[in-house]
Structures are given as C-alpha cells and as structure tokens.
Symmetry: C2
Subunit: 241 residues, 2 copies
Amino acid sequence: MKNAEPEKSLSATIADAIRTAIVDGRLLVGDRLPSEAELADQHGVSRATVREALKRLAAQSLIRTERGAFGGAFINHLSYQEARAQQVTTSTLLLGMNAISFQVACEARYALERSCTALAAERRTDALLDTMRAEIDTQSAPDLTDEAFCASDVAFHRALVDCAGNEVLSYHLAGSVEAMQPLMNMITFTARSRAEIIELHRAIVAGLEIRDVVSVDRALATLEAYTITLGQSVLKARATR
Amino acid sequence: MKNAEPEKSLSATIADAIRTAIVDGRLLVGDRLPSEAELADQHGVSRATVREALKRLAAQSLIRTERGAFGGAFINHLSYQEARAQQVTTSTLLLGMNAISFQVACEARYALERSCTALAAERRTDALLDTMRAEIDTQSAPDLTDEAFCASDVAFHRALVDCAGNEVLSYHLAGSVEAMQPLMNMITFTARSRAEIIELHRAIVAGLEIRDVVSVDRALATLEAYTITLGQSVLKARATR
DNA sequence: GGCATTTAAATGTCTGACAATTATTTTGGC
DNA sequence: GCCAAAATAATTGTCAGACATTTAAATGCC
C-alpha cells in the first residue's frame, strides 16, 4: 500500500490542527490563542513556522491578530460580509478556471435564484422594491457602459434575493449571482437587449408587488433563456472572428 | 476626514496584490511566480514576509508550491473539490458563529435544494438513483448512530442535487447541504422519526424515477417541515432542562 | 484623584544560516 | 557513444536571534 500522504509542511499541519479545533467548537469566538512564542514551544517549531500557520488561518478569516500587550490571535467572528466575500472569490475563480460553459453557469445561477421567489413574494418590503426600481432607472440611462449595466443588474438581483428575508439564503445566492459577473461582462448589451432585460426586470417587480409567484418565476425563466441566447451569440461571434 | 485604513501588514498587502493579479487574469493557471527571494527584492521586504504572503494565498488554494530546482509557487487550478471544501468550511462556520436559528438555516437549505428538482427529474440517472437507494438502506439499519444517520442523509441529498447534472449547481448546493450537518447532528433521531424521514426519501426516489417533479417537491416540503419540527423540539427540550 | 511616564507583552519585520528537495548537468566507466 | 552515478544549482522549508512597533497595564508624581 502506497503512502498517499502529500507530506504536508509543518506550518500547514499546525494550521490544520487549529482550524479543526475551531470548526469542532473546541475554540470559541473571542478566545485567544496562545502567543506565537508559546505555540512555537508547544509544537516544537520556530516562531516563523507558527506565524506562517497563523497567516493561513487569517486568510480564511478564522482568526484576527491584534498587536500590543494582551494582543494576540483571536478566534474571529465570521460576519456575513466576510463569508460572502470569500465565497464570491472562490466561486469566481472556479467559474473562470474550469472552462465552464456559459449555459451551465447560467442554468445554475437562475435555478438557484428561482429558489427564493416564493419567499420573496411573501415577504418583499416596499423598501426593497424601491431599491429594485432605482436600479431599473439606472439601467435605463442610455449612455451607461456595459460594466455599469452589469453592476446594476447584480444589485437588482441581490435586492431580489434579499426580499426572501432569509440572510442565509442571501449569503448563498449572493455568491452565485456575483460570481457570474465576469462572465456577464463579456456580453455586449445593445440598446435592444437592454430594453428587453429592463422589461423583464419591471415584470419581476410588478409580480413581487402583487405577490404573484408565478409571474415572477415566468419572468425569471424568460430572463434566463434570453441571457443564454445573448451569451451564445457572443461566443459564436468570437469563434468566427 | 479620518483615514479609515486598518493599517494592513506588509504580508497582507503583498498577498492582496498577487490575489488581485490572479482574479483579474493577469496571472494564469500554471504560471510560476518569481522565487521568494526575487519577490522579496521586488517588494523590498524580507523573505519571511513574502513567505507569509504566499501562505495566505496557499490557504485559499490560489497557489501551490513545489520544492526543488525550478520549483516555486504556481497559480493553482481550482478544482471543484477544493472549491467545495472551502465553501463548506466557510458556510459551516457562518452557521455556527452567528446564532442562526435552526428554522432560518433549514428554510434556506430546502429552498436551495428545491431549485434542483426540475433539472433532477429531467436528467436523473439510474446510477444516482441506485446511490440514493443504497443510502436509504444504510439509514434503515436499526443500530445506526445519529452521526452515521446524518452522514448518510447528507450523502443522499448530495446524490439528489447531482441528479441535476450541473456541476456548478452541485458545487453551490453541496455547500448549503453539508454546512447544515453540525446543526443536524444536534438532533436525536428516534426510530419513529427515522422511519418518517426514510419514507420521504423513498418518495423522493420514486418521484425522480417517474420524473414527477411535483411529488418530489411535495416530499421535500414535507421533509423541511418535519425537520424544522424536530429541531424545535430539541431546542425546547434543551431550554427546559 | 488625575495625568504623564515607564514597563512589559505581544505582533511585525529583518537577517543570516542551514536542511531538504529536485531538475539539470557533469562525470566516469565501459 | 551510451548509460548510470555523482555533483551542481535553484528553490522551498525551517530555525535562531535580533530589533521595531504597538498597546494595555502599572507606576509615580502632583
């Protein structure tokens, strides 16, 4: 039997040990780790090695460090903001690096987004509907760049998922919606296609307003099909170039 | 105007610079970064500082390092497996650290899971149905521990989302399903409740087999309601203890 | 009691060294 | 000339020690 262990470095091993302790709940939010010098003694390594381990954990927002007396490494409270930022980074890279077809990525994104329509229709607030209407106004500006149009599109859809009034759902969906932005940015939006998209956005807001799930779902399905069409035409144009 | 910058350390600054270059596509998969010594020269810092920066990136699976001549730090290809592992870690911590109510977490999880039923009914394969049946058999063993029951439950639901035949969707849903496991592990499953859950699992498989989306959705909705009931009874028992 | 100063503990960084690993190059034998 | 073994060089992994910087607490002065 071959030994399949990839010979992890000491700093990776120490980081894993601490990470496991955090995930398993043996270390709680706010707890302070021993000082770097103490950790070095405990694990029988140098301070530099401990520091590399701690930087790995800091990169995952698992700990934060404070300088000065009674400073040190503290188990971090993972906020929705930090968690979402990490998820967006990971998802964006995954889509960018794995030669995902635009169609597959789009299908996943809209499937996930539809999962919030029932709750959104039930719980939507006037404030969020106003946010969505404001983004529609932004998108209607004729001299908008494609990037700005995409950014407003993302903001619109984030408001839509926030309508569901479930922050865990918002966290997951934000990752899937925002990670699509680089792919969407490849599309050139003509005045014609923008008008069509804005019309569907209006239909979504109208459906939410009267709490009509079916019409929201229908608008989203149409939007998905239309977006895939746009994406494919871009790919075709690129192929024949 | 106060300067709100939190005074990032040099290693964090260097890590951010390289991370941005990767996300923006200036560094491509397989590219090799300069050696630690060269990076230290370029940024005017010591090798130790550069190493801390690189460890931060390695913790996000953005780079991998190889030792030896012509080794170094290479831009990593982010696999689904790595991306999912990271997402599960982040989501698990988010749920564990933010005093999320069991009901909110459960609602989000099943809402997301329902997003794959239409595609799953359309594309389910016999192999995946067999996997799901095998997990049902595992769950039926009378002397199963609660942890093993939960693990099999997760495997069952992962097979369900894989039925959708969209790897991006599987990646996102795996995060939301697996992150619930620690919360599910708090529940004590009686023989009665296990039987009920297994019955619903059978209904899901049966629905997929005949490609009947409605029955699958109904079974999932029932499962969601039942799971929330179980969770609330645990919380009530814990409160009165 | 209140304020300024000192002190101590901790992280952030630098330097220089050596160990371990590995692709390449050189050498040696035939 | 060819192949195997040994030397070489480049690179990461680790260590030890030092100094700089930051910050809370302790101290001392008035």
